[in-house]
């Protein structure tokens, strides 16, 4: 009797083990192919599948299979996979997560890999390299680069009798144009701002702060530096439009602004190239961000690059993953991907190849300005594991000013105090 009982338990345990995929992890061989997690859909999905097929035809022993994972959810999924020892060989990871991802022991150090002959690491934009590097260690290879510029509705500008913005324009001009473009009767706004208080709220402002000549943190990343005249000037700009002129549509959902722009309800948007394909219904132009005359900031922008990260599943698989990524991000493949998706070129050599910008602009009007604007990426957000906390505090600060709840100077002072606290407790842990 007892034997029966035990075998029944053993059989069910086996069954459960099978379901939960218990086991010893992947053996150190490339048998079964490498697995890559990516979140491409639409045109990006097609272009990526094409490149993948090309690689797999040439490298039957190192086939790569892809698994779609929504980029927003990839980190929780990755963390769970790593804990269970079933991490993919390669994953697409947001750049803002890099300092945290660098703490995962299974993440492969690529510092020597990117120095191999033929890779030409310096061909990647400086903003990309900054975000792929954490404490001097390269943990990823750039997968995507973008930046912020001003997309404006040409029809609304003409109807209001305004000149379209030129490359030397200023924030005062932006504020004045936004005011003219605001027509309450038509429910038309001069501009819009995303106000969920998330990093999307924050990085839009960070570009203004840099243009006004300010910094987010001090050089050693130990104290807040944004409670400065530049910080005040940049917040005042936003407050004038949101509170005084009411020329700014505040979008807490982080998505409706694009629909409204495409419906001709918003005159100007500070946004990135990813939104352009969502504006088929309006005639739009793109201009670099305005500047603050009298400051040393000039015209700047901010970039949010993302990375391909390799996870250790044994030396053979790591080696195969490295050669695949170096191939994927080499100039010919990067050119193909940009031309078929409208994504900005991840390498300078792609941008400089003859006829590239014209071809891009034909596919997606206005994208050439974003490409040129890559040269205006002069700094990166602080690469700190505590940056998410800093970002949360800055998000609250910006939203409270935009909603008219707090005066800019008071908001800056209180946020600076909180950031200093977060940095102090973050470094001690």
């Amino acid at each position: 009797m007892k034997g029966h009982w035990l075998s029944a338990v053993a059989a069910s345990a086996l069954l459960v083990c099978g379901l939960a995929a218990c086991g010893t992890g992947t053996p150190n061989s490339t048998a079964g192919g490498l697995q890559i997690w990516e979140g491409y859909t639409g045109a990006e999905g097609k272009a990526f599948a094409h490149l993948l097929a090309e690689w797999n035809a040439k490298h039957p022993a190192e086939k790569v299979t892809s698994l779609y994972v929504d980029n927003d959810d990839s980190l929780p999924k990755l963390l769970t996979a790593v804990k269970g020892g079933s991490q993919p060989d390669i994953a697409y990871v947001y750049g803002s997560w890099a300092p945290n991802v660098a703490q995962i022991p299974e993440v492969v150090n690529l510092t020597k890999v990117v120095q191999r002959p033929g890779v030409d690491w310096s061909d990647f934009w400086v903003g990309e390299r900054d975000v792929a590097t954490v404490n001097g260690k390269v943990i990823g290879i750039p997968a995507l680069v973008d930046n912020l510029a001003v997309v404006y509705n040409k029809t609304l500008f003409a109807a209001a009798g305004l000149q379209p913005p030129g490359p030397n324009w200023t924030w005062d001009q932006f504020i004045a144009d936004a005011k003219v473009l605001t027509v309450p009767a038509k429910k038309q706004f001069g501009t819009a701002y995303v106000t969920p208080g998330s990093e999307d709220t924050v990085w839009h402002w960070e570009a203004l702060l840099w243009e006004a000549g300010g910094e987010i943190l001090n050089a050693s990343n130990t104290k807040a530096a944004f409670d400065s005249p530049a910080g005040l000037q940049s917040l005042d700009t936003l407050r004038t439009m949101a509170v005084t002129d009411k020329s700014m549509y505040l979008d807490p959902t982080d998505s409706e602004y694009a629909n409204l722009f495409n419906s001709g309800k918003i005159g100007m948007l500070v946004t990135g190239p990813w939104d352009l394909s969502g504006f088929p219904a309006v005639k739009y132009g793109v201009q670099i961000m305005p500047s603050y005359p009298g400051t040393n900031g000039g015209h700047q922008t901010i970039s949010g690059p993302d990375n391909w990260v390799i996870f250790n599943n044994g030396s053979k698989r790591v080696a195969a993953a490295e050669s695949f990524l170096l191939w994927l991000t080499a100039t010919p493949q990067a050119t193909y991907f940009s031309l078929h998706t409208g994504d900005l070129p991840i390498r300078q050599s792609v941008e400089n190849s003859p006829g590239f910008e014209q071809k891009m602009d034909q596919a997606l009007p206005g994208v050439d300005t974003f490409i040129t604007n890559l040269g205006n990426v002069k700094q990166a957000r602080p690469q700190l594991p505590t940056y998410p906390k800093v970002s949360t505090i800055l998000g609250q600060m910006i939203v409270s000013v935009l909603l008219g709840k707090t005066q800019p100077q008071a908001a800056l002072a209180s946020a600076a105090q909180q950031v200093n606290q977060a940095l102090a407790s973050g470094s001690s842990s």
Binding site: M1, G197, K405
Partner: protein, 317 residues
Amino acid sequence: MAVRAVLERRAQPGRRRQPGRPARPKAREQAAGWAFVTPAVVLIMLFGVVPIVWSAVMSFQRNNLFSPNTPFVGLANYRQMLHDPVIAQAIGHTIVYTALFVPGTMLVGIFLAVAMNRKIRFISVYRTAAYATMAISTISEALVFIWLFDPSYGIVNYLFHLVGIPQQQFLSSTSEALYVIVIMTIWGWTGFAVVVYLAALQGIPQALTEAAAIDGAGRWATFRRITLPLLSPASLFLVVWLTINALQLFDEVYLSTQGGPLNSTTVLVYYLYQQAFGGANFNFGYASAIAYFLFVIIIVFTAIQFRVGRRLVHYRS
């Protein structure tokens, strides 16, 4: 006293089971029984008990899931709650939300259920329509409400304008956003409450309401004295179930306001998620501590509800 007569007839005891314990099953049967339940037990252990225990352990650690270094910090995560101003706000919002959502959903539910508990034309169409709110995904629900309550372009402000009420900021207002979410979720849960009440209403024997009518009770008195007490088991179920769900509000907040503006819609579960995954905080230790705090609140609430319910609920024998 027709009602009493009917009730007494129904209350007559049926056949009683013989007293005494049932015979113990033979060892062989016991083994077979274990063999049948083992797969389920192992699965529940694996996907239920293990995560529950693990998060309990994490609540005493500083753990970001990245780093293998997870020092034991004792009660530090729980103590942090005492000094966290946002969690105080989150608790307040959760209580206000629950206090409005639970009775709100039940009132709308009972009203619609009574209205639909009769034989009229197209009744099944109405009933399906009411339940549809339950079948619609939360995402579409949230998107529809975001547009309905859009300050500049929404139809609600348009209707307000027609009757001369000034334009409201709704989801962009720190004082109004939470109430929009209350309305949104009441709408979403109405179908559930309607189905539960409809089923309960149909279980009320007509003899009772007819008897009440013979006794001279009006419609309101019949509802108040006969229907409502007989619905009390369904009401208790709804109170408990809706409260548990209200305390765990997340989807609608995540989709419409992300806790904002300025934390005005941050509720406990959303804050917990924020601490764990949102905005890349990765404070898993603190998030686990909040989860356990919420767990205790839910247990206490449910215990109180059952205790109070025992006095107010009338079960028919």
